[in-house]
Amino acid sequence: MPAESPDVAWERLEGVLARVERPARYIDSEWGAIRGRDGAYRAALAYPDTYEIGQANQALAILYQRLNAEEGFAAERVYVPWVDMAAEMRKERIPLFSLESLAPIAGFDLLGITLPYELTYTNVLELLDLCEVPLRAAERTDDHPLVVGGGPCAYNPEPMAPFFDALLIGEGEEAVLDIVRTHREAREEGRERAEVLERLATIPGVYVPSLYDVVSDGAPMNARPPAPDTVVKRAVTDLGEYRPPVCGVVPYMDVVHDRVAIEVLRGCTRGCRFCQAGMVYRPVRERVADDIVREVMEGLACTGYDEVSLTSLSTTDHSQLEEVVRRLTSRLESTGVSVSLPSLRVDAFSVGMARLLAAGGKLPGLTLAPEAGTQRLRDVINKNVTEDDLIDAVSRAFAAGWRRVKLYFMIGLPTETDADIVGIGELVRGVLSAAREAAGPDRGSVRVAVSVSTFVPKAHTPFQWLGQAPLDEILRRQQVLRDAVPRKGVDLSWHDADVSLLEAAMARGGREVASAIEAAWRSGARFDAWTERFDLTLWREAFASAGLDASSIAEREFGEEDVLPWAHISCGVSPDYLWREYERAVSATPTPDCSFDRCTGCEVCRALGIDLVVGGERRGAQ
C-alpha cells in the first residue's frame, strides 16, 4: 500500500467530496478526535453503518479511548461510506481510509468491527471490500490487518464467522489491550498469521472461528487446541475502575444520540425472557453517584453539549438515581442543559424522575414498554408490569403535563393467541382514557403512539429454542391488531415483518448462513436496516443460492438436548437456567429480579467470578 501523506490523500478526496451527499461524514476534524498519534501499532475501529448512525456508539468510544491512551498504540475511526461515496471511491480507485489520517485501512495492524445488529452484516462485507481486504479470513495473508469482531451479535457469531479472524465475546475494556498486545508481540517474534491466531485463541473471551470446525449439522463444533471448547464472555468486575470516555468526539453533523452519554450501570437482571441484552450483559454493576455526577459535569464542560443522557439498559433501576437526579438538576439549574433517561420503567417512580429532570424545561418524550397486551402473556415473558402500573404511570405523566406517550409492544411472542393481541387494543384504550382524564380540559391534544415489533427469538435467552412465527401468521396477527386498536388519538406503527424474518434467520443460523450473506452482498444488498434499501426478494434468492431457506432457519425449533449453533459461546448464564426459565415461561410463572431480591441461580456470577455491584438499595416497582 503506497503511503501518502494526509495532504496528498486529502487532495484526491476533495473532488469526490464535492459530488457526494453529506460530505461531513468523511472529513474528521471534530473536537475530541485524536489525531497525529504516532503509534507503532495502529488499529482502525469500524462501525458497520454510516457515520451518523455509528458515531455515538459507546463501545467503540471506549475502545478508541483505551487504545489511544496506551503507549505505542493508536486508534482511528472508520464508517461505511454511503452508496454514492462507495461508487465514487471505486471509480476513483480510492480504498477505504481512516478518518483521522486518511490512511488506507488495509495498511493498519488491526481492523475492529462492532456488530450492533444483524442487518448490518452486508455492510461488514462492503467495508472489507472497500478496504481491499479479502472478505474471508481464510484468504488473508500476513500483509492484511487482523480483522476482529465484537458487540452484541458476536453472541451468535456463526453467520459472520468466516469473515473474521477473531471475535471478542463480551466487554472490551480489558480484552482490547490483551488482543493488541498479544498480536504485536506475536508479530514481533515473527509468527505467521496462523500462529498469531492460535495465540489469540488463548485470551479469555476471544473466539477464533478458524480453529472450530463444523463436524455436521447438530453436532458440537470441533475445537482445535489451544482453542477452548467453550468461549466464555469477558466482563469487567467493577465499572468504577474504568473512567468512561467523557470527553469523546463531538460530531459536526447531526448524528443519532448527539449528546454526552454517561453509562450509569451495566447489566439488567429484570429477566425479561425475550431480551438478549438482559441475559448477556449480566450481572448488574452500578457506578456510584459521585462518579456519575462528576463525569456528567466534566463531559458537558469538555464537549460543549447542552444535553446529557444517563445510559444503561434500565437507568431507573439504579439504586442512587434519585440522588443523582437531584444533584444534577441543582447543579444545572438555568444553564439550559437538559438531562435525559433513555428508557423508563413502567412505574410512577420513573415518571417522577423524568418530571424532575424536565423541571422548568421541555418535557422529554415518554416511552413505556409493556410489550404484551395481557397479564398472562406478560407473565410468560417475565415483564413484571401490571395494567395498574401502566395506567398509574400514564395518569401521573399526563397530570404532570405530558400529552404524548409511546408504547412498545411485540407480537409473535411464544404462546400468544389472538386474545393477547386483542388485549393490546384494550390496554391502549385504557391508556387513552386514563391519559384523557388526567389531561382534563386539554384532553383533545392527547396522543398515544403504539409501536409494534415482531418477536425474534434470540440466542442465550430462554426462548432460544423456539422458532419465529411464520411470516403469513405474523401478517395475519398484524391485521387482528389493526382491528383491535382504537383509531382516534392513536398512531399505530409497525416494524416490517419481512425485516424481522431476515433478522431471525441471521440471529438463529449457523455458519452456513455466511454464504447467503455473501451472496446477498454480491447482488447489491447493503444498508439493509435502511427501509428504502431493504429487499426481501433479493435475500430469499441469496439464501436459495446458498442452498438455504431463510424462513426455515427463522422458524426452526430446537429441543433441550439439541446442540445450538451458538453452543460453543457462553455469556456465563447457564443453559440449565435458561431452560428452567423457558419452562416457567410456559407455565406463566414470573421470576423476580436478583438485584432486588435474592439470587435466582443464573450462575453468571460464579461463571465469571464477579458479583453484583449495587450502591444502595434498589427501589421502585418490582
Binding site: G15, I27, D254, T303, G304, Y305, S334, G336
Partner: protein, 229 residues
C-alpha cells in the same frame, strides 16, 4: 435587549476539511465552542432557553472562508483578548476565531448588514488559462444577466447589481483564480462557482471549479464598504 448584556462579535474562519460543513453544522459547532470556552453567554428567555447567538450570511457546503462572523451575547464583560483566547482554546483550528470585539446593541444584525462578499474561485483543467477564463467571464458579465438552476429552482440574476466590482482572473497553482465580489439581494445571492462554471462552459474548456473561498464579507455604508469587525 437586557441592559446588563454585552454583544461580542467574533471573526472566524472555515478552512481545510471543514469547508464541507453546512451552515447549520458550523453554527452548531461554534455554539458548542462557546459553551466549552466557559464564556458567560446569555440565554434566551422562554420555554426552552437557548444561547443568544447570531450569524452572518450562510456559507454553502464546500465553500471555505477566511473572515466570517457571529455575535454572542454575554452576561458579564470579559476583556476581548481574554475571550479570544478562551474561544481559540475551545475551537477546532479549522474554525478558529481570529478577532473578537464588542459592538453596540443598536447595530443592525449581521444577517441584515452584510451585503457584500468577496470570493476566490479556483479553477483547473484543460484549456483553463487566464485569458480564456477572463474573456469568458467578461462575455457572460457583459450580457447583463445570468440564468441558473439550483436545486430545481430557476433563478435570474441582474449582474450589474449582483456584481458590484470587476471580476479579475489571475494564474495560481496549476490553474487560475477569479476574484468575484457579489452583492446579496432579494433574489438570494449569486453563487460565484455557478458564474464561473457557466463561463468555463462558454469558453469550451474542459475545466472545473475546484475550490471556492469567501475571503471577506462586508457591510455597505455611505462612506463605502467596511468589515463587520
Amino acid at each position: 435587549m437586557a441592559p446588563n448584556e454585552f454583544r461580542m462579535r467574533v471573526a472566524y474562519r472555515k478552512t481545510g476539511r471543514v469547508r464541507f460543513l453546512s451552515h447549520l453544522e458550523v453554527m452548531r459547532a461554534l455554539e458548542r465552542s462557546v459553551r466549552r470556552s466557559g464564556l458567560p453567554y446569555a440565554v434566551t428567555h422562554g420555554f426552552s432557553p437557548r444561547m443568544k447567538l447570531a450569524f452572518g450570511p450562510a456559507l454553502p457546503v464546500g465553500t471555505a472562508a477566511l473572515r466570517e462572523h457571529f455575535d454572542v451575547w454575554t452576561t458579564r464583560y470579559v476583556p476581548a483578548a481574554e475571550a479570544m483566547r478562551a474561544l481559540a482554546d475551545a475551537t477546532p483550528p479549522e474554525l478558529a476565531p481570529h478577532a473578537v470585539a464588542y459592538v453596540a446593541h443598536r447595530e443592525p444584525s449581521l444577517g441584515a448588514a452584510v451585503t457584500l462578499a468577496e470570493y476566490d474561485v479556483y479553477m483547473e483543467g484543460k484549456g483553463v488559462t487566464e485569458e480564456a477564463v477572463q474573456r469568458a467571464l467578461d462575455t457572460v458579465i457583459g450580457s447583463g444577466r445570468l440564468d441558473v438552476e439550483h436545486k430545481g429552482k430557476q433563478k435570474v440574476f441582474d449582474l450589474s447589481r449582483s456584481l458590484p466590482k470587476e471580476v479579475r482572473v489571475r494564474p495560481t497553482g496549476s490553474g487560475v483564480t477569479a476574484t468575484v465580489t457579489t452583492r446579496m439581494g432579494q433574489e438570494g445571492s449569486l453563487r460565484p462557482d455557478m458564474l464561473c462554471t457557466v463561463a468555463l462552459s462558454r469558453a469550451r474548456c474542459d475545466g472545473a471549479v475546484v475550490r471556492v473561498t469567501r475571503t471577506d464579507t462586508l457591510i455597505e455604508e455611505e462612506e463605502g464598504p467596511r468589515r463587520p469587525l
